[in-house]
C-alpha cells in the first residue's frame, strides 16, 4: 500500500536526486578545476622524463603521469578549466544569438520571421561536427575561436524554442494589451515576452553547456580545437590512442571526466525541465 502511495513521489524523488547529483557534481568539478591546481604540488606543464607513464596510485602522482611525465591530475584540472569555460561561454553566446534570432522571428512573423526560420532549418541540415570542423579549419585555432565557433553552431535549437514561445505568447492578452498601450516592439520583447519564455530557455541553456563541452572535446580530439600544450579534456585524448596498450589511463581518465561533466549537465537539465515547465514534464 505504501508502495502505491510513493509511486509518483518516488519518480520525482529519483529525478530530483539525479538533478541534485548533477548540480553537486558541477559545483565540485568547477571548484576542483579552479582551486585544485593551487593545492597540488605539481604543475600541469612540468615535464619529468624520468617519470613518464607512471600508473595511477603508484607514487606521488595520484592519477599517474602522461607520456611526458606530466601529472595527470593537474592536467585534468587545467583541462577541466578550459572545458568548463568553453562550455559556459559558448552556451552564453549561442543562447544570446538564438534568443535574438528567435525573438525577432517570432515577434515579427511575416516574411522576416519566415526567412529567419528557414535559415535556421538550412543551418540545421549541416551535421554539426562537419560544420564545426570546416569552420575550425578556416580559422586559427585557439580558445576564443573555438568558443565562437561552437556558439555559431549551437544557437538554432534555442532560436526555434524562443520563436515558438514568442509566437504563442504574442497572441495572448497581455502582449496585445501592451501593444494597445503603445509599448514599443523592443520593450514588449524585453519586458513581457522573454520572461515568459524563461523556463524552456533555462532548460535549453543547461543542456547546451553539456553539448558545448562535448563538441569542444570532439574538435580538440580531432586536432582542430584547443592546441597543446594547453590541456583540454578533448586534446588530452589526442595522443591517448597511441598509448592505449601501454598506458590506458591516458585515454580513460579524460574521457571519464568528460562523461561525468556532460552527464551532470544533462541530469540537471532534465531535472529542471521537470521542475520548471509542467507542460514539458517528462513522464
Amino acid at each position: 500500500m505504501s508502495l502505491a502511495l510513493s509511486a509518483p513521489a518516488f519518480r520525482r524523488f529519483r529525478r530530483h536526486r539525479l538533478a541534485a547529483f548533477g548540480a553537486a557534481t558541477i559545483v565540485l568539478l568547477t571548484l576542483g578545476c579552479f582551486l585544485g591546481p593551487f593545492l597540488l604540488p605539481f604543475d600541469d606543464t612540468t615535464i619529468d622524463v624520468m617519470n613518464r607513464f607512471a600508473p595511477p596510485l603508484s607514487g606521488a602522482h595520484v592519477l599517474g603521469t602522461d607520456e611526458l611525465g606530466r601529472d595527470m591530475l593537474a592536467r585534468l584540472m587545467m583541462g577541466g578549466r578550459v572545458s568548463l569555460i568553453v562550455g559556459f561561454t559558448a552556451m552564453a553566446i549561442g543562447m544570446a544569438l538564438g534568443i535574438l534570432v528567435g525573438a525577432v522571428a517570432g515577434f515579427h512573423g511575416g516574411w522576416l520571421g519566415a526567412a529567419l526560420m528557414r535559415f535556421v532549418d538550412a543551418v540545421l541540415c549541416f551535421p554539426t561536427i562537419f560544420l564545426l570542423l570546416a569552420l575550425a579549419a578556416l580559422v586559427s585555432p585557439g580558445l576564443l575561436s573555438i568558443i565562437i565557433l561552437i556558439a555559431a553552431t549551437s544557437w538554432m535549437d534555442v532560436a526555434r524554442i524562443v520563436e515558438g514561445q514568442v509566437k504563442s505568447l504574442r497572441e495572448r492578452d497581455f502582449a496585445v494589451a501592451a501593444q494597445v498601450l503603445g509599448a514599443s516592439d523592443a520593450r514588449i520583447i524585453v519586458h513581457e515576452l522573454v520572461p515568459n519564455a524563461v523556463a524552456p530557455i533555462v532548460v535549453a541553456a543547461t543542456l547546451n553547456v553539456a553539448r558545448a563541452i562535448l563538441l569542444e572535446s570532439y574538435v580538440s580530439f580531432l586536432g582542430y580545437g584547443i592546441q597543446p600544450p594547453v590541456p583540454s579534456w578533448g586534446n588530452m585524448l589526442n595522443n591517448a590512442q597511441i598509448y592505449l596498450t601501454s598506458a590506458p589511463w591516458l585515454a580513460i581518465l579524460p574521457g571519464l571526466a568528460i562523461t561525468l561533466a556532460v552527464t551532470s549537465f544533462n541530469f540537471l537539465g532534465d531535472g529542471l525541465r521537470d521542475a520548471l515547465d509542467p507542460r514539458m514534464r517528462a513522464r
Binding site: 500500500m1 508502495l3 502505491a4 502511495l5 509511486a7 509518483p8 513521489a9
Partner: protein
C-alpha cells in the same frame, strides 16, 4: 423472462489515491438491471457515472492507486472478483461497451472491418473468413450503407456518426447480455444523435439485451430509458421508473435537473433564461458534510441538511430517494 436481474451491483465504491489525498469517485452504489431493460444513469460530469461504467468493465487503471470494492453480479458471476482471464472473455462477450468519443475510440491504423472482425474472432469460434463475413453482416446491421465496400476503410474515412455505428457493431458482435453505453451520442450532431438512439432501440428489441445508458442529457433519457438512476457526488440520489421520475421528482437535485431542460411546450411562455442549478459539483476531495447536495439546494435547512448524511431509502416499491426532507417536500 426470469425474475432475477441480469446485472446486480452491490455497494460499489471506487477510490482514487492521488497526491492531493483520497478521492472517493463512487460511494456505496447499488442498482439492478433487468433483462432487456434500459437503465439511464444521469448526472453532471464528475458525478461518478463514467467511473462506474469503467469499474464494471474493469477498465480502470490496474495500479494500486485505484481501489474498487463491492460486487457486480452478472448472471451470478462477480465481475469485480473473477480472475482477469475470465473477465477478458466476458468483456466484449457477455458485457460490452460503447464509448463517448467515436473520433478517437477506433484504432486509426486498422481498417474498420478488421476491427469488428477481431472482436468477432476473439469470442466466437470462427475462422478469419467467417469472422470477416460476420463483420460485414454486423456493419450492415448497424446501418452502414454499402457495408461490404466500407470494410477496408480506415476510421478517418468515416464520419463521427458512422464511426459510432462501427463501435456499436463491435459491441454487439457477440450478442452481449448487457451493453454499457457511455454518452454514446454526446459528441454527435443532433440529427445523428437521434439516428443512433433509434438504432440502439431497434437493436435492443431485436437482441433483448439490457442497456446501461450513461448520459447527462435528460432529453435522451426521456427517449430511451425504462428506469433512471440519478447520481450526484459519486452517490445514487434518486432511482425511479421513467414516468414517475419525470412527472414527480422527489429529490431537489432531480427537480433542478428537470427544470434546466428546455421544453417545447413551455418555450413560448418562458420569459427568462433556463434556471440552471446554482453552484458547481463538489470537489470530491472535500465533500460537504451531511447531504452532499445541500450547498446548492434551494430547500436545505441549516443545522439539519449539513449535519446528518441522508441514506437512500425506499419511497415506494419502485423508487428510492436520498433526501432528509423528501416527505415534507413531496407533501
Amino acid at each position: 423472462m426470469s425474475g432475477a436481474p441480469i446485472l446486480d451491483v452491490r455497494n460499489l465504491s471506487v477510490r482514487f489515491r492521488t497526491e492531493g489525498g483520497d478521492v472517493p469517485a463512487v460511494s456505496d452504489l447499488s442498482f439492478t438491471l433487468d433483462r432487456g431493460e434500459t437503465l439511464a444513469v444521469v448526472g453532471e460530469s464528475g458525478s461518478g457515472k463514467s467511473v462506474t461504467s469503467l469499474a464494471l468493465m474493469r477498465l480502470l487503471p490496474k495500479d494500486s492507486a485505484v481501489t474498487v470494492t463491492g460486487q457486480a453480479l452478472l448472471e451470478g458471476r462477480d465481475l469485480l472478483a473473477i480472475p482477469e482471464p475470465e473477465m477478458r472473455k466476458l468483456r466484449g462477450g457477455a458485457i460490452s461497451m460503447v464509448f463517448q468519443e467515436p473520433m478517437t475510440s477506433l484504432n486509426p491504423t486498422t481498417p474498420v472491418g478488421a476491427q469488428v472482425a477481431e472482436a468477432v474472432q476473439l469470442h466466437r469460434d470462427l475462422d478469419r473468413r467467417a469472422a470477416r463475413e460476420e463483420a460485414a453482416r454486423l456493419l450492415d446491421l448497424v446501418g452502414i450503407p454499402a457495408a461490404r465496400q466500407r470494410m477496408d476503410d480506415y476510421p478517418h474515412h468515416l464520419s463521427g456518426g458512422m464511426r459510432q455505428r462501427v463501435m456499436i457493431a463491435m459491441a454487439l458482435s457477440c450478442d452481449p447480455g448487457v451493453l454499457i453505453a457511455d454518452e454514446p451520442t454526446t459528441a454527435l450532431d443532433v440529427t445523428i444523435q437521434a439516428q443512433i438512439l433509434d438504432l440502439l432501440k431497434r437493436l435492443q428489441e431485436r437482441t433483448g439485451m439490457a442497456v446501461v445508458f450513461i448520459t447527462h442529457n435528460l432529453g435522451v433519457v426521456a427517449e430511451i430509458a425504462d428506469r433512471v438512476l440519478v447520481m450526484y457526488g459519486g452517490r445514487a440520489v434518486e432511482q425511479a421508473p421513467l414516468r414517475p421520475l419525470f412527472s414527480r421528482p422527489l429529490m431537489p437535485y432531480t427537480a433542478g435537473l428537470l427544470r434546466s431542460v428546455p421544453r417545447m411546450e413551455l418555450a413560448g411562455r418562458r420569459a427568462g433564461p433556463l434556471p440552471a442549478i446554482p453552484g458547481n459539483v463538489p470537489d470530491p476531495r472535500h465533500m460537504p458534510p451531511g447531504c452532499v447536495f445541500h450547498p446548492r439546494c434551494a430547500h436545505h435547512q441549516p443545522g439539519r441538511c449539513d449535519a446528518a448524511a441522508p441514506v437512500l431509502e425506499a419511497a415506494d416499491e419502485a423508487r428510492e430517494v436520498r433526501c432528509l426532507r423528501w416527505r415534507e417536500l413531496a407533501a
